[in-house]
Every structure is written in C-alpha cells, then in structure tokens.
Subunit: 166 residues, 2 copies
DNA sequence: CTCAGTGCAAACCGTTTGCAGAACG
DNA sequence: CGTTCTGCAAACGGTTTGCACTGAG
C-alpha cells in the first residue's frame, strides 16, 4: 500500500506551465494537481473532492473544475468520458503515455492496454481522407475476465442480426 | 435532394421489436423512429424534435428520449457522444454496419470510415486479458482536409512532450 | 375497460458562472 | 495595490421523472 509516488516533480511541471501562461500559482491549484498526480486510476470530480477533504484541504468544487481545465490544457492530465454521465481524469505521467481502455459493462472495471495498431489506423485515415489526426479515443466495452468467471453474461434483447430490411 | 429512402420497412422492424417486448406500438413511437430512419447523419435530440415539428407532429421531448431508449435497445439505432455535452443518434441501416468516426476539432464535421484493424485489436485483448468484447468506440480527433486547406492549425498551449519528470 | 404511454412541468445532476472577499505577484 | 483567484450559491442545459390524462389492445 505504499503506492504514493513523489508528486513534487509533477507539481513543479504544473507550476512551470502556470508561469508560462502568466497565471498565478495558487495553493488550491497545486493541491488539486497533487490529488490527481498522487492517484493511479481514473478519477471523478467527487473522487478528487473527497481526496482533498481527506488531506485536510477545504477547496470548492468550482475551483476543482477550473483547475482540471488547466491541467488538461497543460497536457499533464487526460479527460475521459466512459458514458457514466460525468467525466473522469487521469494523469499522463505513467509509463503508458498512449493507451486505450477496456470497460467492463457489468462491474465497471477499467483496464488499460497499449496498441500500436491504432497508430497505423491513424496513418491510414491521414492518407485516405487527408485528415490530420491529433488525438484518438478507443474504448472497448464488454465483459472482463472476472465477471465472465462469475457466470455473468450479456443479455441481448434487441433484434438479432443480420437485420432483414424487407 | 431526393435523399428520402422508404422508411416503412424499418418502421416495421421497430414495430416487430415492440411487439416482441409486449410494448404498445404507438403513433408517437413510430413517428420518432421515422424521423431517425429518414435522416442520414448523427442526430441530436433537438434535430429530431425539429424534424418532427416540421412533419406536423406534436411530440414531447420526454417521449423522444423514451423512444430513443427503445430504439437503442432494439439495436436499430446507435448512441454516440462526441463530447459536445449531449448525445447523438444514428440508425444502423446503412451499408456500413460497423464504422468509426473522424471528428474535426475545428469545424465539427464527422466522417465515417471502416477499419478491420479494430476487430484485430479486439481479438488481441480477448486473448491477452480474457476480455470478451461486445462493442467498441473509436474516435479520431484532428483537422479535416477542408480546414487544413483553409490554413487552420492546432495551437498547442500545453507543455511540450516528452515530459521531463525531474 | 384496463394498463401502459404521453405531455407537461418540475426535478435532477454534473458542470459553469456571477459576485463579494481573499491572495498572488 | 491591482489583478486574478476562490468559495459560495445560484444558474445552466441535457436528461429523467411524477402525475393526470389519453389512447392502444
């Protein structure tokens, strides 16, 4: 349970970004950044708020949202939407700079994986459509191994394929 | 401008789905289904509401949302979230049953493309993580060809990579 | 006739914004 | 000290829900 890496270097990076943009380096901004950098998973705003409260910080939700916007703009943090009705945030300082997500539709577990094939797809669309890719999001939804072992199955209730159109 | 395919067969499919589920086949449900089947692009709820109003239908927003839920459950319609703060809906009756999206960050244009490589990626994660893929979403964000020709460029304001972590 | 569906409006909930007071530079 | 930020609370906007009424079966 010693998974608390030193966040100081990351905090310093964020401070540098703020200075470059001519923005004040406030205690609250550093505290929010710390909360995100210290965590490993995909954090909701509620997660961050709780983490700050546990750390004894008294920071309003509005400030958290405003700081997350800065963190995303600084490229130090990625914003995700896993279709839960709210956003999640993940720092980019792991050893997996580009990765995709596997989302279990039953338990909600999120697994990360890397795929160089997506880069090939990007290159293909660049060639074929003249599109200049900047960023991509690949999410695969399904059942994780643990849920399959528990005997969970997806219950299809829709019309079955192939669709007869006549 | 004759892009108005016959929606009757699709409407019949949806009616069949409703009957299979023991749900009443109402005028409103068929009207919403028609509006989605008749359109080609990725529709917002506002688009659908407007289309229904233009067709002389007086259908409340709540009914549109409730019917879209049924259409998605029937597998006749896909739900998308392109990060605009609301959902978009697209019927599945085109000749591109599985396709991915190219989203221009400047003009918002959405282009569809097919990629068999994503299926290979799905197979890989199935093998590697024991994950059973059901559905995926791949969206590539960047600049479309038209915007590039207009001289639009992405203005990076964040810290530049690679990130020095010390 | 009965029960589910519809329309309306209010509730919901994550997120954004306006403003008086606090803090960075 | 001026400008920007912060916290609070109210506003916002897409979506959902409660309820009296309508309509499908």
């Amino acid at each position: 349970m010693s998974a608390r890496p030193d966040t100081a270097p990351f905090r310093r990076l964020f401070a540098r970004f703020l200075k470059e943009q001519g923005l004040p380096v406030t205690h609250q901004r550093l505290a929010v950044a710390d909360a995100v950098f210290a965590a490993e998973g995909h954090l909701s705003v509620d997660d961050i708020e709780r983490s700050l409260k546990d750390a004894g910080e008294r920071i309003g939700k509005a400030t958290i949202y405003r700081t997350l916007d800065l963190l995303v703009r600084s490229n130090l943090v990625d914003e995700h939407d896993f279709g839960e009705g709210f956003k999640r945030y993940e720092h980019r300082l792991s050893e997996r700079p580009i990765h995709e997500h596997l989302i279990c539709q039953h338990c909600g577990a999120v697994t990360e994986f890397e795929s160089t094939e997506v880069l090939r797809i990007e290159a293909t669309v660049a060639r074929e459509f003249g599109f200049r890719p900047v960023r991509h999001k690949l999410a695969i939804y399904g059942l994780c191994a643990a849920c399959q072992e528990k005997g969970v199955t997806v219950t299809p209730e829709g019309l079955t394929c192939p669709i007869e159109t006549v």
